[in-house]
């Protein structure tokens, strides 16, 4: 059986093409174009390194390119490449920079620094501050129950009954409401931080990184501090994650 040999140049192109198609169409949900561009750039970078690390391989890689431009018999191909390649780049550039109806991609800051007054706060329903007695276990369960009631009266419309950010109104917001089951949301945060975010909502976000996209209401207008702590107990309990603590 004849061994099928493909030159390093063409195999690199195939690798690049297949990787692109896989990332673009197979990975679900689709990758944002910024990430796709970054990964394709990395693959190109890796191909460059692999090819140029050895002299012979580099020569082999360049052979088809040299062959194309130095072979007098390939005038038609040379013309096609010389016109087609810059044209393709031009089309890409035109598409990339032409104004679109949809808003451009944005660089969101998701974790701004909290104001001083919230730093180091402990949930008084879970554990009391320095010198205080720890709340009773039975009380904690009661607070979680109350937190659940508050959650379903106020929060679940956006954050969902499964605490996954897929509430009835979720689709109306950009960005989507936080998914508490995601390890990257409340599991990464201390309760004091969550308390600040609930209490002051979107308008309470700091001046840095403005303008903010947050539809979170100012809950201190509707809930007491104790109710906010109760709802915090519930969302951690319900999402099955632990609040972040410092050693």
């Amino acid at each position: 059986m004849r061994k099928f040999n493909i030159s390093i140049f063409w195999s690199s192109l195939v690798l690049l093409g297949v990787s692109y198609l896989l990332m673009k169409y197979v990975v679900q949900p689709p990758l944002p174009s910024s990430i796709l561009a970054m990964y394709v750039g990395m693959i190109l970078f890796a191909i460059f390194i692999y090819v140029t690390v050895e002299e012979e391989r580099m020569r082999e890689f360049l052979q088809p390119i040299r062959g194309l431009f130095l072979d007098e018999k390939k005038k038609t191909w040379q013309t096609l490449v010389l016109i087609g390649f810059p044209l393709a780049i031009g089309v890409y550039s035109f598409n990339a920079f032409s104004p679109k109806i949809s808003p451009p991609a944005e660089l969101r800051t998701v974790h701004p620094a909290p104001p001083d007054e919230y730093v180091g706060l402990v949930n008084p329903l879970r554990e009391s501050g320095e010198g205080g007695a720890k709340p009773h276990e039975g009380d904690l369960e009661e607070h979680v129950q109350k937190g659940a009631e508050i959650y379903f009266k106020n929060c679940f419309f956006c954050h969902g009954d499964a605490l996954d950010g897929k509430g009835h109104f979720a689709e109306g917001f950009t960005p989507l409401p936080a998914n508490f089951r995601d390890q990257g949301t409340i599991a990464q945060l201390q309760e004091s931080y969550v308390f600040w975010r609930i209490k002051t909502g979107g308008p309470g976000l700091p001046t840095e990184s403005q303008p903010w996209n947050s539809a979170m209401p100012i809950w201190e207008d509707f809930l007491t501090d104790e109710e906010i702590w109760q709802v915090i107990l519930y969302i951690y309990e319900g999402a099955g994650v632990e609040p972040r603590t410092w050693e």
């Binding site: 689709p30 174009s33 990430i35 692999y50 002299e55 800051t109 701004p112 909290p114 998914n179 390890q183």
Partner: protein
């Protein structure tokens, strides 16, 4: 006539009648002017404006340039003395020549560093007098010590350089001068670090900011970790800049002998740079932890707020450093007889590095359009979100470090044939050790997703310990396995393609940019405070610049630094020709 006289007298009388009023007005205006003007003169202005670019940018550029040169003149003597010592031990004159060449670069860079330091001081006094007064009220005794140490550093540098040939037969005395130079230099850095770290995590003061304890102000939260971090980073910085110098000299060499020498120098520069780069992420992690312990908002602003985007750039730069250093080594295998045996591993190492690099630089919050965010349908992408957290990042960087170490290991034994009877078993043991370390790293990386954050943070210690232990054990085993090894051929120094030298220049460019970037991040974390929560910056330039603005400034500073460095390289080259 009478009529005219009458008119004149009438005008005179009118003028006379108005004079007291106009005088009074003049008097009032002058008094008002004096009131405001002299009161302004009486008070020291809090800020002065630097023309065209503004005060903040002026200080930013000058202090960053000063720091870059300082890193160079502090890092290079460390390995110059080590290389000289190796020369004494091995009795190989090429080490002595290399150490001397390092020191020559140092000599030219020393005065540039001092000049930038002086300009920075003048600018601080002139543009930020209140801030400087406050810092003087806390740290004046250290200013005096700093000046004395500066003399010490200058004298020991000149002593080290000018006694080089005279003390060829008294090398131990000469090395002692070199050690003195390092001691003075390191102490200078440690003192300057007290001022910088105090601005970030002030200590030793009361609620009004008045000094209670000088030692408390010096020994603030971030002082020790930044001393360690900068000490290692300076060696890394010096190594890569020396590598770039060697590359420049290699590319402009006319003879094979010169090419061989500068190829070797480039290799040594890259080795030192990479060896120091390996522990740097751990030192950075410790610094971050201390910042967090001092102030949670400070750390969150740095790594969770708007500055966090700059950490994506940091990840890319660190990735370029590691991959570039590996790439250089892989190319270098071609100049060693026997190196071709290990080429087959390159693709696997490259694959691993690229995968880790991709994870390392994947952001937690994605840059996505509205349409793309809708398609993702959640706050985080289910796949990419996994890569965005510290468990993934720590795993990736530890595996990158292990892979880089493996590249060095292969390079080291490229032309060696082991003669010890247990060589095969020893190599299997090395593979098991490295594999186990990788296993520990991956295990804790995955396990980290299932435990609370406080527990997860502790896992990084296990990961780092496994990697460090593996590197130490494998190095010891290597030295035992290679004892009495025979050679397949010598290293053909100078037989390197030009792209390997451009890689060294890229590494230097990357480390300079990285230093500029991280310096900015650390400084910008304080936001509108000169001294965090003690002395507020009320100047018109107290805003945090946009990411684009900051990165452009960092690029400009990198460009200026390289312009100076090229000039210094050229001077060194010219001096040699003469």
């Amino acid at each position: 006539m009478e009529n005219i006289e009458y008119r004149i007298s009438n005008i005179e009388s009118r003028i006379a009648s108005r004079l007291p009023a106009s005088r009074f007005l003049l008097l009032a205006l002058f008094s008002l002017f004096m009131l405001f003007a002299l009161s302004a003169f009486a008070q020291e202005p809090a800020y002065r404006h630097f023309p065209l670019i503004g005060s903040r940018n002026a200080i930013w550029i000058i202090s960053q340039l000063h720091l870059m040169f300082a890193a160079f003149i502090l890092g290079v003597p460390i390995f110059a003395v080590i290389v000289e010592y190796i020369g004494v031990r091995t009795k190989d004159p090429k080490f002595d020549r290399l150490a001397k060449e390092f020191t020559k670069l140092l000599l030219i860079a020393f005065s540039t560093t001092a000049t930038f330091g002086a300009i920075m001081l003048f600018l601080l006094i002139g543009l930020y007098p209140n801030f400087f007064n406050y810092m003087s009220s806390i740290f004046f005794p250290t200013f005096v010590i700093y000046s004395l140490l500066f003399f010490g550093e200058g004298f020991s540098l000149y002593l080290y350089w000018y006694s080089w040939d005279k003390l060829m037969n008294k090398k131990w005395l000469h090395i002692t001068f070199g050690i003195m130079l390092n001691v003075f230099g390191t102490l200078l850095m440690i003192i300057a670090n007290t001022w910088v770290t105090f601005m970030m995590s002030p200590g030793g003061i009361d609620e009004q900011g008045a000094l209670i304890s000088l030692w408390g102000a010096i020994n603030n939260f971030t002082w020790i970790p930044i001393n360690i971090h900068r000490f290692i980073a300076n060696i890394c910085f010096g190594g890569f800049i020396v590598g770039a110098y060697a590359a420049y000299r290699f590319l402009s060499s006319k003879t094979d002998e010169e090419r061989a020498h500068y190829d070797w120098m480039g290799y040594v520069g890259n080795f030192i740079g990479t060896a120091a780069l390996i522990p740097l992420p751990f030192a950075g992690y410790w610094l971050g932890k201390e910042i967090y312990e001092y102030s949670e908002p400070l750390m969150i602003r740095m790594m969770g707020g708007e500055l966090s985007w700059l950490f994506i750039i940091q990840a890319i730069l660190i990735g370029v450093l590691f991959i570039g250093a590996n790439y250089y080594l892989w190319i270098a295998l071609s100049r060693i007889k026997g190196g071709e045996r290990f080429r087959k591993y390159v693709k696997y190492m490259l694959f691993l590095l690229v995968i880790c690099f991709a994870i390392w630089m994947t952001p937690h919050s994605l840059v996505a359009s509205l349409e793309e965010a809708r398609k993702i349908g959640a706050t985080h992408h289910p796949l990419l979100g996994v890569f965005g957290v510290m468990s993934a990042k720590n795993t990736a960087v530890n595996l990158i470090i292990l892979t880089t170490f493996f590249s060095f290991m292969l390079y080291q034994r490229a032309n060696k044939i082991e003669t010890v009877t247990w060589a095969k078993k020893g190599k299997i043991a090395q593979i098991i050790i490295l594999g186990s370390a990788a296993g520990v790293v991956i295990f804790y990386g995955i396990y980290g997703y299932y435990v609370p954050a406080a527990v997860r943070i502790g896992f990084s210690v296990y990961q780092v310990s496994a990697v460090l232990a593996a590197m130490i054990l494998v190095t010891i085993l290597s030295s035992l396995i290679l004892r009495g090894a025979t050679s397949m051929g010598t290293i053909e120094w100078g037989k390197m393609p030009a792209r390997s030298q451009y890689t060294l220049i890229v590494l230097a460019l990357t480390i300079v940019t990285l230093m500029g970037l991280m310096g900015y991040i650390r400084s910008a974390t304080r936001a509108d405070w000169h001294v965090y929560r003690v002395l507020r910056d009320t100047s018109p330039e107290a805003f945090t610049p946009t990411i684009a603005y900051a990165t452009q400034m960092i690029s400009i500073i990198t460009f200026i630094f390289f312009a100076f460095i090229c000039f210094i390289f050229w001077l060194g080259h010219m001096g040699e020709k003469q």
